[in-house]
């Protein structure tokens, strides 16, 4: 049985690149991601740099997993909307996106998801706030909703910035 180790980490959804970087640093040090759950990452001992790890926000899609596997990638698992893949380095470089268009549409999907959650929290917050006039408990829930909404709007801003940057690039090159 290969040696395993588990790490608990939290990443904001807009820091998905930071998460991916961390997973690849682990792989570079001989710990390849083998299983993933919410905030829980399980690694197996491998050679240094044996795998490259990639993650992508993608709707549940069996065909897509088969497609990725046919190109030599391994499907590790999924957490909410996020899919995790890895590929042996000896099989060649591993990226999910190879041009700006597909990278932009990926960030757009993430942007839409955060925006939807943010607006939902804002709406529920406002409803709770108006009920809160009659009950303190609802006022607390309202404040919580509005704080979450504010945080998510920060994430929306981060994704907007990224989309803008990529679209600027796109004006000049592919």
């Amino acid at each position: 049985m290969t040696e395993r180790r588990t790490e608990y980490r939290w990443f904001w959804v807009w820091d998905f690149e930071k998460e991916e970087r961390w997973l690849n640093e682990m792989a570079a040090n001989g710990w390849a991601l083998v299983d993933v759950e919410y905030c829980k990452y399980t690694f197996e001992k491998t050679e240094y740099n044996e795998y490259t790890v990639r993650l992508e926000m993608h709707p549940s899609d069996e065909n897509y997993i088969t497609f990725m596997e046919d190109t030599g990638a391994e499907y590790i698992g999924r957490v909410l909307q996020w899919m995790y893949f890895r590929k042996r380095s000896e099989l060649g470089s591993f990226d999910i996106f190879s041009d700006l268009d597909s990278r932009i549409s990926h960030v757009r999907r993430i942007h839409m998801m955060i925006l939807t959650l943010g607006l939902a929290n804002l709406a529920i917050g406002i409803v709770n706030l108006s009920i809160g006039i009659f009950s303190t408990r609802n006022s607390f829930v309202a404040i919580f909703n509005l704080l979450v909404a504010t945080l998510l709007m920060y994430g929306v801003g981060r994704m907007r910035g990224k989309i803008e940057y990529l679209e600027n690039e796109r004006r000049l090159r592919e």
């Binding site: 990725m68 190109t71 990226d95 190879s98 592919e174």
Partner: protein
């Protein structure tokens, strides 16, 4: 097709690779070979491009053969027309580039 369509490099090479029936991984390999290793299509990009091109009717998915899980695709008449227009456009780009700086490039 009155609109002038400018294809991305990925779209162009995928259509070219689908002149003969081919599956996803085959497309990646063929494009890399054609471009002598320069163009490496990533799987997510390719998957998205294939789906949009099927939607537009530029390519079709062929019936899956028994015992195989690989889906083959092939270019359609509409896709071929798009591709031919693009080759024409690229020729113009290269001719103009050559005419203006092509001769002075080697000194």
């Amino acid at each position: 097709m009155l609109e002038n369509i400018v294809l991305t490099e990925a779209t162009y090479y995928i259509l070219l690779a689908l002149y003969n029936p081919q599956h996803g991984y085959g497309i990646m390999q063929e494009v890399e070979e054609m471009s002598r290793g320069r163009v490496r299509l990533a799987a997510g990009t390719l998957y998205g491009a294939l789906n949009s091109m099927v939607e537009k009717g530029w390519i079709v998915q062929l019936p899956v053969e028994d015992g195989s899980r690989k889906k083959n695709y092939q270019i359609t008449a509409a896709g071929l027309e798009i591709l031919n227009n693009e080759i024409e456009r690229l020729r113009e780009l290269v001719e103009n580039g050559d005419a203006i700086i092509g001769g002075n490039n080697n000194d």
